[in-house]
Amino acid sequence: MKTLAVTLWAETLKVRKSKILWLTMLFFAFVAMMMGMIVFLQQHPELTQKLGLIGMKANMVGMGEPNWKNYMMLLTQGLAGIGLIGFGFITSWVFGREYTDHTLKDLLALPVTRTSIVIAKMIVIAVWSAILSAIFLAAALLFGKIAGLTGWSSDLFFSLLYQFAMIALFSILLCTPVAFFASYSCGFLLPIGIVIITMMMANFSGLLGLTAYFPWAISGLFCVAPGTEITIQPVSYIILLTTSLIGLAGTLAWWSYADQHAK
C-alpha cells in the first residue's frame, strides 16, 4: 500500500506540473462551450447566416427542438466522442512521455514494483479523465443555462448524470490498450493512431450493425434515444471489460518482462 501511495504521489506531481493538464481542461470546456453555442444558434436561427460556417454546422447537427432533453442527448454524444479521443490522448502522454523524456530507465530498478507504477499511472488517468468529464458536464450545463433552454427537470438531469458516468467509465476502461501501445511503441504516435483508428472503426461498426459488440462503439449506445433498435447487450459489458483487462495485463506484462531499451 505504501508502494502505491508513493508512486501515486509521484505520478500526480508529474501531471500537476504539466501544461497538458490545463490544456486538456481548457479543451473540454471549449468543446462544451461550442455545444452551448450550437444550441444557442438553433434558438436564434437569424444569427446562423451571419456566423457562416459555425452557423451552418449548428444547422447540420439537427438536434431537434432546442430544449434540455435534446441538448443532453447531444452532450452524451459529445462526451462519447471526445472522451475516447481525449482520454486516449492523456493515456498516450502519461505512458509515452516516460519514453520521449527518456525518464523510463529511472523507474525500472527501484524499491517500488513496476506494477505499482503502472497502476498509479492508470489511477491518475482515471481521475484526470473523470475531472475532464465533470468539467465538460458543468461547462455544458452552464452554457445550456445561458442559452435559456426550456424543459429542465431533476429526473432528466439524473438520467443524464447516469449516462455521463457510464460513458466516462467505459471510455476510461478503454484506456488500457492505449497504455499498452504507448509502452510497446515507446512514444505517442502509435497509441494516438490507434485511438483515431478505433474511432473510425466504431463508426464503421455502426454501419454493420455491430455497435453492441465493438468495444469502442459500446459507450455510444448510451447516447441513443429510447426506443432505438440498437441497444446495449449483456455481452457488451463482457466485451468491454475483457478488452480493458487484456490492455491492463498487456501493459503490466510489458513493463515487467519485456526488454527495456529506452534511452
Binding site: 506531481l13 506540473k17 530507465k105 529511472d106 523507474l107 527501484l110 514494483t113 518482462y257
Partner: protein
Amino acid sequence: MIATDKLTKRYRDVVAVSELSLHVRRGEIYGFLGLNGAGKTTTIRMLLGMINPNDGHAFINGKKVHPNNTDLWKEIGYLVEMPYSYPNLTVKENLEIVRRLRFIDNKNAVNEIIGKMKLNQYANRKAKNLSLGNAQRLGVAKAMIHNPSLLILDEPANGFDPEGIYEIRELLTDMAQNQGVTIFISSHILGEISKFANRIGIIHNGELIRELDSRQLEKLCQKRLMLDTINNAEAMKILYNHGFIPTETPSQQIEIVDTRAIVHPETIAKLMVENHTTPTMLNVVEEDLESYFLRTIKEKGE
C-alpha cells in the same frame, strides 16, 4: 558484490554480450572498458534487470538479478547512458520523487545531495533549463541520494567539463575509499578510468577479453624507447647491426621496444655518439591505458 555467470544476450543473429563472467569485489572501483557497441550498456542493463539475458545469470550481493526483486535495488544507485529528468519539474522536485520512490525517511536527503553535487543555486530551476553539465550532476545526484553500497554508472563523465570530471572522480574515489562503496563504471574516456579504477575489464564484441588490476596494468602497458638523431637512416642501420629491431614511427622517429634499450637508454646514446649519429632526443615512453586498450582489442581481432 557483482558476479555474472556466462551472461549472454542475443538479438537474432547478433550476439550483444557473449558468456560474460565477471566478478566485482566489495569496495572496488571496477572500470568497464569497451568501444561503442562493445556490449557495455547491454551488460549494465542486464545487471539492472532492464534486459533479460538469453543465457547465464547475474548476481548482486549473492541475490539473483530479477526485475521484480525490489529489495535488491534498495542498495543500488545507477545511471544508464545520458541522464534525463522530468523537464517541467525543478531539480528539487525531481530529487523528491526519487527520495519518495526509494523510501528515504530523511526529508533532508534532497537538500544534502543538492549541496554535495553543488546544485544549490539551481535547486528551484526546471530540469529543462539546466546546462548539460548540471543535468549530468542531477543524474548523479539521483543515483547517490540514498547512499547506495553499489553504484552502477554508465559513462557518467559525459557532458562534464574537465573540472566536473575531476570533481566526480574525487567524489567516487572518496566513496569507495572512505565509505566502502563498490563502483562499477563504464567510460569511453579510457585514460580517466586508469586514474582511479582498482580493476579493469575490457569488453570487445560482447566478450570480456581481459580483466586485470591496476598494478597488473602497469606491468602490461608496454614501454618503448623513442629516439631521434641527426641521421636517422644511419642510426637505424647501426641499431640493426647491434641486434636491435628499430622501427620508424609516422613522425619519423625511431622506436625500440627491446628491454635492453628501455632499461639502459644510456647505452643507446653512447652507441649513437660513438658512430657519429648524435641523438637529439631520447625518451622512454610508457604506453597509456588507451593505447593498451586499443592494442588489446586489435590483438583479439587478429
